[in-house]
């Protein structure tokens, strides 16, 4: 039996009622794996995806169209205080469609920390090894060598070498890549070995069905057991057209740490210890731009193939919690980040081909929160703590030092009052207290931790099996699970944890048959 992807425009106008063994909300890294595994186990399974179904042929490398197509709120989602922009995917394949293919396993010390301090059982490095290995095989993960390193990434390598700092090539899930450099706008050349290209077709081949353009509005539950999901079916223009009611004894939420938590909150799930939606981590990051005499053409080539880990360790409360990678933007993103406006702004944009850009991302310890507004929309609150702010400042200074070491003529930290330095001495003399929310543009691409796992229901929303502590049959399979931030890209962790937890969801569905 082969399943299918049903788009909003393909659905008849009336309400739809579906009976299934399991329903998965969200089709990104975690949702796609759960869908595949449940289907391969012979269960009838349906996925609900809020966004549309777009494929390689739809990705035209134009920012204004792809932001609208691939990102939540067209890339405009913000924290409630408007201090941090949160970029998240929307559509079949989720954020795996627009991410830059970075593949890092959950660090061993993080897994040990989760076991030691957060009561996560069965997820030690040894226990997770088979899941990581299987995912890396599925997604054809390979090292990005010097032969594919573009000039922006080469700046980072040169800086690391010159300073003697730790750095190295990253691993990616790409095959047949031509290095066009438009990864964050979806891959026109279908070279991303992601949920959209690899995992969901496997799920369909095993009989799963995906309903795109279908927004889950409520998880249905009674007497401590999940009973299904209600959704709004969207028609053309993304307006509500009809209802979808899926009756299922297993529900997997995998709609991101923001989407899943908001869905859970508007579903009135029991939350006796007040943990639901709390503990949000964002990996907040900001950028530094270096101007070079030589052209960089940072938009060409694979965007992120090298990393600096000189300031990245895993101790909670530690003083090395910054991950540094290149982060070049296409013109619209660059123009929005560059301070000022008018003729002087345009004049500054003329330096674009000569700019290299690095980002410092904080392995954060701030505990934000996701709630739902009166209209059900997610509200993201993230009051950044001082130690994270200090780490961000340290990271931006490190980015500046790296670029000066790589030969930058000058380096600019975009801020309400932009700061430009052209020597290490100037950098050392800099007062970095201006580095804080609302003063520097901060972006998050890795929300995590709003329905975290752990065996103690007083401190965790779901058990180490991924099943909700109070609602039987309800599983979580996305970045919501993580009790702390990872300090690196989460996609492999999400894929792998979904795979690791899937036997529990399968067993629950079978017991319910």
């Amino acid at each position: 039996m082969t399943g299918s992807i049903v788009r909003g425009r393909d659905r008849a106008g009336g309400d739809l009622s579906i009976d299934a063994d399991a329903v998965v909300v969200g089709t990104g890294a975690g949702g796609s794996i759960m869908l595949r595994e449940l289907a391969r186990a012979g269960l009838s399974v349906v996925a609900l995806e809020q966004g549309g179904y777009a494929r390689a042929a739809d990705f035209d490398q134009h920012e204004e169209r792809m932001l609208s197509l691939l990102y939540e709120d067209g890339g405009g989602r913000m924290t409630d205080d408007m201090a941090i922009r949160v970029l998240q995917g929307r559509g079949v394949g989720g954020s795996t469609v627009h991410n830059t293919n970075l593949c890092k396993r959950t660090p061993g010390p993080i897994l040990d920390l989760w076991a030691r301090r957060y009561g996560v059982s069965g997820a030690t490095p040894d226990a997770m090894e088979p899941a990581f290995a299987a995912i890396e095989r599925d997604l054809s993960v390979t090292e990005m060598g010097a032969d594919v390193r573009n000039a922006n990434n080469e700046v980072l390598r040169q800086g690391c070498d010159a300073l003697g700092w730790k750095g190295g090539p990253l691993h990616h899930n790409r095959k047949g890549c031509i290095g066009c450099g438009f990864c964050e706008l979806g891959c026109t050349y279908d070279a991303k070995e992601n949920a959209l290209k690899v995992v969901l077709p496997q799920a369909l081949a095993a009989g799963a069905t995906v309903h795109a353009d279908a927004t889950a509005t409520r998880i249905l539950h009674a007497q401590g057991e999940v009973t299904g999901v209600e959704a709004t079916a969207l028609g053309p223009n993304r307006t509500a057209r009809s209802r979808i009611h899926v009756r299922a004894r297993v529900v997997v939420v995998a709609a991101s740490a923001i989407g899943s938590a908001a869905l859970a909150r508007r579903s009135d799930l029991p939350d006796p210890y007040g943990r639901l939606g709390r503990g949000l981590r964002l990996h907040p990051g900001a950028v530094v731009a270096g101007r070079f005499e030589r052209p960089i053409f940072g938009w060409r080539g694979i965007p992120q193939s090298y990393e600096c880990t000189e300031f990245l360790e895993w101790d909670e409360g530690g003083d090395k919690r910054v991950w540094i990678v290149p982060a070049f933007a296409h013109p619209i993103g660059a123009a929005a980040t560059l301070r000022g406006f008018g003729a002087s702004h345009m004049e500054a944009m003329r330096a674009y081909p000569h700019l290299a850009v690095l980002t410092a991302m904080v392995h954060d310890e701030t505990r934000g929160e996701v709630s739902a507004s009166s209209d059900g929309e997610p509200v993201v609150s993230y009051p950044m703590i001082d130690s994270d702010r200090a780490q961000l400042a340290k990271g931006l200074a490190a980015c500046a030092r790296l670029m000066l070491a790589a030969g930058a003529r000058d380096v600019t930290i975009p801020a309400a009052s932009p700061v430009r330095v052209s020597s290490v001495a100037e950098l050392d003399a800099l007062d970095l207290s201006f580095v804080r929310p609302h003063q520097v543009p901060i972006t998050s691409v890795h929300p995590m931790g709003t329905m975290c796992m752990g065996d103690d229901p007083r401190t965790a929303v779901v058990a180490s099996t991924g099943e909700h502590h109070q609602v039987r049959g309800l599983f979580v399979a996305d970045g919501s699970l993580f009790p702390t931030s990872l300090g690196g890209p989460p996609q492999i962790s999400i894929y792998a944890f979904a795979l690791h937890l899937s036997p529990h969801a399968i067993a629950r569905a079978r017991r319910a048959l």
Partner: protein, 167 residues
């Protein structure tokens, strides 16, 4: 309250009708975006000499109108409130009694700069949001890319020359 409402209503009159049908913005909101876009994406001397298109020629305000129609309701509400601030309140802070859209270019620059540099974080955030929308509308146009030496999408480019090697 009635008098206040009537006053606000009167102050939102007297705007030129757009040359195109609007899908999300009202006539006055469209005018504010159009005027703001002319200043935010103002051309520098080199661009003028080179004949680069201005924000009207790239229909920035029309683009923003379409974008706002697809915004989530909360963001749209915040943006439209911010436009009221730009048009009616911010000029007063700079000593101008007239609406933003009736000021000359230099005064409009002064008003926008005062918002960009405001001590109120939410006003600065509102400005950055409006600026992002304007640049979305402006730099989406391929005619603007030569300004910064950007060669545009690889897709459809006659002579493909990606910087990274094939993999």
């Amino acid at each position: 309250m009635v008098a206040l409402g009537a006053g606000v209503t009167l102050r939102m009159r007297g705007y030129p009708e757009p040359t195109r049908p609007l899908v999300a913005l009202s006539t006055w909101q469209y005018a504010v975006v159009q005027h703001a876009a002319r200043r935010i994406a103002a051309l520098d001397a080199s661009a003028i000499t080179a004949g680069a298109p201005d924000p009207d020629q790239t229909d920035v305000a029309g683009f923003v109108d379409g974008w706002v129609a697809r915004m989530n309701p909360r963001t749209r509400r915040d943006l439209l409130r911010f436009l009221v601030f730009v048009e009616q309140v911010a000029p007063l802070g700079c000593g101008y009694l007239g609406r933003f859209t009736r000021l000359d270019a230099a005064a409009q620059d002064q008003v926008l700069a005062s918002i960009e540099g405001s001590s109120h974080a939410l006003l600065r955030a509102g400005f950055e949001g409006l600026k992002a929308l304007v640049f979305l509308g402006y730099y989406r146009d391929p005619r603007t890319w030569s300004v910064m030496g950007y060669d545009g999408p690889l897709l459809g480019r006659p002579e493909s020359a990606p910087g990274g090697a094939a993999r």
